[in-house]
Amino acid sequence: MAKVTSLNVNGRKMTVDIDSSVSLLSVLRNDLDLTGSKYGCGEGQCGACTVLIDGVATRSCITQVGRVGGKQITTIEALEKDGKLHPLQEAFIAADAMQCAYCTSGMIMSASALLAKNAKPSRAEIITGMNGNICRCGTYERIVQAIQIASGQAKEVA
């Protein structure tokens, strides 16, 4: 079986020794101890495992690690820099856009990919862009507001 021996994760080269067919999510969580990306369904249906591959929001649970060997992988752990939260992370707190927060990493990663493509998405564009992510606690409205805050389109939230 083909092996993957190195990965570029969060700007660092990581040495691994993994069958190329293994899911990226499993490698991140079990081998690299980057547990911020979550398992929610293993089928690409819920978005809890979302990471960026060369800047594109990708479901790591259905991505074989062999396909991302030479690419830049960004996980939730990379967003906070020197103890300072990313504006999206700050906005999620400001909007109270979480309850159990198990979906939050995936939401923030999907939102960061959305804002990278579209700096000021409309409400409809946010809903379309985020529709692959499930928040079973139902905090969707607050997540929309958090994205609006992070993109400078809203300030206060009830």
């Binding site: 069958d19 293994v22 499993s26 969580r29 079990n30 101890d33 980057l34 547990t35 911020g36 990306s37 979550k38 398992y39 929610g40 369904c41 293993g42 089928e43 249906q45 819920c46 809890a48 996980t75 939730i76 752990e77 967003l79 906070e80 939260l85 992370q89 999620f92 707190i93 109270d96 979480m98 309850q99 159990c100 927060a101 198990y102 979906c103 939050t104 990493s105 923030i108 946010i126 809903i127 379309t128 985020m130 529709n131 992510n133 499930i134 928040c135 079973r136 606690c137 139902g138 905090t139 969707y140 409205e141 607050r142 997540i143 929309v144 009830a158």
Partner: protein
Amino acid sequence: MIDEHNLIDEIEVERYELFDAPNYNFHFDRRDFIKAFGLGIVFIVPATRVLAQQRGQGESGRGGPNQNLPKDIEAWIHIDEKGEVTAFTGKVEVGQNTRTTLTQSVADELHVPVSSVHLVMGDTDLTPFDLGTFGSRSTPTMVPQLRKAAAAAREMLIAMAAEQLNVAPGDLRIVDARFLNHDKSKTLTLAEVAKGRKLVKVIPDNIAITQPKDWTIAGTSVTKVDAKSYVSGKHRYTFDVKRDGMLYGKIVRPAAFNASLVSVDTKAAAAIPGVTVVTDGNFIGVTAPDQQTTIRAANAIAVDWKSPGQVSNKELFDVLRKPATNQRGGGGEGGGGGSRPQGSMADGLAAADKKLEQTYTVQYIAHAPLEPRAAVAEWNGDKLTVWTGSQRPFGVRTELAEAFHIPEDKVRVIVPDTGSGYGGKHTGECAVEAARLAKAAGKPVKLTWTREEEFTWAYFRPAGVIDIKSGVKNDGTLTAWEFHNYNSGGAGIQIKYDIPNNDIRFHASDSPLKQGSYRGLAATANHFARESHIDELAQLVGIDPLEFRLRNIKDDRLRAVLQAAANKFGWKPTPRVPPATTSGGVLSRLGGPTNLPVSDRGVGIACGFEKGGYVATCAEIAIEPPSDKEDKTNRRVRIVRVVEAFECGAIVNPRHLHNQIEGSIVMAIGGALFESIQFDDGKILNPHFAQYRVPRFSDLPKIEIVLVDRKDIASAGAGETPIVGLAPAIGNAIFIATGIRLRSLPMVPRGLTA
């Protein structure tokens, strides 16, 4: 203030939420506290009478040999030498923000900043026994208990500080964790008072707690505790727990429910390097150093199961109408949520101008918590430690002790703040499985359920059938109300309508699927049936549904939320709509065959009461065209706008309450419109998010919340009751738009006319 003791007496623990009383409980004595917490001061809160009774009859064994400590302990608070405050409670955090609620309540009572209060939750070695986090009980029971502890601690600390400062206790107060005398000439910090102490104090029973009108930190929108660790991905859920030398586990599941093992061949799996195979009765599992190998090993096991023929959705409601043969599932006829009949149904129906009999049904639905069940089990000699996301850590401890025939004090269950539960994580099956694998492997084992396993091998919100027979006078006065709930449960079955003749019963059935608690439980089904039926009666006598309700409800709190929701919504009297009929498969309306117009809108209202919370919901829906893949005659229902008014006494955290209500409304959309477990012959047919649709961003209506704050009433929990009003409000709105009365949940799993 309404006394919380009376409130507890009033509220029956739902049958599906409480299984057996624990048969053994860990005990502490003073030395244990000193050993566990080190220097500082521990304040112990004895349990209230009612809670002690709920936990089981007679001698509980808690309290141990030291008779100076109370038998039942509800909570304790420790103040360490640095002045940091740690409160201990057996409650758990599953997204309902109880950690924040309790933290701010302690801070409020102790007059210290929120940041200096920490909560240890759901750890059976460190926290007092607790029945579980369910039934919206954390706020009404745990908040007052921790407040009592904090209030007593405050007074005792003031006495100690007064002694140190040589002033009268009456001259001292605590402001922001500092003791100050009248002119601030003498001050001490909390740390300076706690330093070098080794004290365990039992708080007096009669201590007064701060009333809501005097709250300073409680009653405000304190930010979610630990929010930063969540948004940065640092919080460790059970799924993220790691232990040295940890292996991964996988269970080989039976081919169907109730299947028995015919044969199993594990040779090929056992030959894989690093794999341990465990077979024990029907239990078949494997462990390996990595997850991929567990999957390979599980697939290599040849196994043959024999499954009995089993019920499918098609027969479900006929099955549920039959009385239970197994009494474990319920309290039997008239038991549980029912009540003694009042008046006479015969008289009530005789007095009516119009009578109505209708049947309503609800399908099984799944909790689908985004974090599926998971457990990490570790044996150290004869002591077992399990990390698992459960709403009943002490219940799981009992399950583990029973499964392995060991005393409960040899089992420690630790519940990391969990990726939601909604009543779906009361049981410890994953913990037991992980512990069985770890025992065989001789190393710590992590077992994480797949989404398919969570959909299949957990349990469901009970399905149910509800029959209602009623009578009403032409002036809108309700005269008779007969209500039979088969299987779904007794929660929310009681009426706030003033009906002199009523007979309300719950009937236990043999459920074909494993069923259990769920957010709001049967209150959703019972409110759906009742509030739909009330709407039908209002239509029957031609009275606006809001007016009809107000004419029959005397309860001021319920009237207040109804009026608050209606005002915010801009409720206008709805027309009398002729019911649609179907003839030869063609939907007829207004006297002739018709396709439903696409632009139609409808509004609906519903109200209810459960677990100390009062709710009223107004909804507007739109009838929309089908998707490209569907028949052109199909119509979709889109929820345009929801206004919900909610009152649960004094509000502890307005923003989090707002968030819980929004979340309840969104979750309710799934059960109202499209969520339904499909099953046949012992198998779940839709155990994936691709097949079991849950609400997504695109389902989001405009949501407006009206919070009714009653500072004169003790706070009730709010995580559940806001879910009950949506389904009937939507059903009633669909009727106004179309003339179609939908009496089954989910209402439109494939669209309105499919």
